[in-house]
């Protein structure tokens, strides 16, 4: 009997441990906080249509999305966040974000060294089914706001 209880306990612990306990977050709130807290020049919410076209993501993979950009400099700041419908969709979205980042690196390489150096510091961030990329000199600030929203 004790063995059975033990096995069940272990299984339950396994199940609990494997379920990502990520808090539900409204990405629009996060984007608004980025716009208010990070010193960006005239940021605005560019909308999911632009994101879908630019990132080449499947709309059916997305539960929610928020994107902030501005129109300053050669490579404007860009903060894009997704919540995927499931883990597999999150993988696909992360790959698209990675691709976008690499495209911008390609464009900046040999063209705008300052932006290229910035892009090299940027990375795709994932929290459960949430995926984000912050392509900006302020990437760390944006990432911190994103992560703090899950606490």
């Amino acid at each position: 009997m004790k063995k059975i209880v033990l096995i069940i306990s272990v299984l339950m612990l396994c199940l609990c441990a494997c379920s990502p306990a990520v808090k539900d977050v409204a990405l629009k709130d996060v984007s608004e906080k980025i716009m208010s807290d990070v010193a960006l020049e005239d940021p605005f919410d560019i909308g999911s249509e632009w994101v879908a076209n630019t990132y080449g993501v499947k709309v059916e993979d997305i539960k929610q999305c928020a994107a902030v950009v501005n129109m300053v400099g050669i490579f404007p700041d860009e903060a894009v966040m997704f919540e995927a419908i499931d883990s597999a969709a999150a993988d696909r979205l992360a790959a698209r974000c990675e691709s976008r980042l690499n495209d911008l690196k390609s464009q900046a390489e040999n063209y705008d060294p300052e932006s290229y150096a910035t892009f090299k510091k940027c990375k795709v961030v994932r929290k459960g089914n949430y995926v984000a990329v912050f392509i900006s000199a302020k990437t760390e600030e944006m990432q911190r706001i994103f992560e703090e929203s899950f606490k």
Binding site: C14, I46, N53, A94, L101, Q107
Partner: protein, 340 residues
């Protein structure tokens, strides 16, 4: 009857339980090679997915300053299969290339061989689409805009203010006719960099608005600027024969832009005018529409006014637009739709 396990077995069970818990917890946390701060997961940056999508290579004979700020996407590439692009970026190379192309195009020199007044640098070249009554935004529903970072700004403006109907955008920073034609850099469509002759048909657009130039002028002499542009348009038309080409002039630069971008042999009001006159000639030859967008901006000396510049010098390039300048651009497009 209660079974009582021996003490060592109980210890073993507890140890197993703890071990299993630790394994489960650690197994469910994905660790990536480039993991950053605690509390988030990050993906390591991957290398370029496709050699064809690599960034243009800087020409060896371009100064560092030029290669940095001008975005000299030199297309002279030793690996160029066609071998047709052998020009250098310097003005010297511009003189050393095909003689017939080094002639100053008509419109810059008057009949007596005198340079035309600077004020005329913004005048419409022959064949320019004239000003008409404004069209509806729906006119742009089947339009796609091709361009570099200047057009990219317009795409951001459009995403924010939604004034150009359902227009689509195929833009990339540092895009030029040469880099696109030789597939060193192309805009992303559907999440992938594609040649324009591939992506334009995918958009379903029937009106193709093109604005390129600033990245070509820094990389090619006049002859190849024109040749690459023409070849690119012909390649697009071969893939999408039912589209209409709307060539937009290169827009002016600011006198307060980076010092090595402005007032050089490569970038000044005269070279931009020359480039635009060349585009207008191509348009007349092929029956494409020519839109002198530059005329909406240039000051009396052919330069971009301060209030239009979002990246003034000396650190900025002095070529990118403010919101108001984008609005001016859109107003120009609305009032310069061909009537035929």
């Amino acid at each position: 009857m209660i079974y009582k396990a021996p003490r060592n077995k109980r210890i073993l069970s507890v140890a197993l339980l703890l071990l299993a818990t630790v394994i489960c917890l650690s197994g469910c946390i994905t660790t990536y090679p480039d993991e950053g701060e605690e509390g988030h997961e990050s993906y390591a940056t991957v290398s370029k997915p496709d050699a064809n999508s690599s960034a243009p290579v800087i020409s060896q004979d371009v100064s560092d300053e030029q290669s940095v700020e001008v975005g000299t996407t030199s297309d002279e590439p030793s690996d160029e299969p066609s071998g047709d692009v052998s020009e250098a970026t310097s003005s010297e190379s511009q003189e050393s290339n095909p003689g017939e192309q080094s002639e100053v195009p008509s419109g810059l020199i008057d009949a007596n061989g005198n340079e035309i007044p600077v004020a005329d640098l913004i005048s419409d070249p022959e064949g320019t689409v004239p000003k008409n009554a404004p069209v509806d935004a729906s006119y742009f529903d089947d339009a796609v805009f091709i361009g570099d970072s200047i057009s990219q700004m317009l795409s951001y403006y459009e995403a924010r203010y939604d004034e150009l109907g359902k227009a689509q955008f195929l833009c990339a920073q540092s895009l030029g006719a040469g880099s696109s034609l030789h597939n060193r850099l192309n805009p992303v469509y559907g999440g992938e960099q594609r040649r324009l002759c591939e992506s334009i048909p995918m958009t379903g657009a029937k009106k193709v608005y093109v604005m390129l130039g600033v990245n070509d002028l820094g990389s090619y002499n006049y002859y190849y600027c024109m040749k690459n542009f023409e070849d690119l348009m012909l390649e697009i038309l071969e893939a999408a024969p039912d589209v209409k080409i709307y060539v937009q002039s290169m827009t002016p630069i600011s006198v307060k832009g980076s010092t090595y971008l402005t007032h050089t042999d490569i970038y000044n009001a005269q070279t931009i005018k020359r480039y635009n006159v060349g585009l207008a000639e191509l348009c007349r030859e092929h029956g494409w529409y020519y839109l002198n967008v530059a005329s909406a901006y240039a000051d009396e000396y052919g330069y971009l006014p301060d209030e239009c510049v979002s990246d003034p010098g000396p650190k900025g390039m002095g070529i990118h637009f403010t919101y108001d300048a984008c609005k001016r651009w859109i107003e120009y497009l609305f009032t310069h739709a061909p009537q035929d």
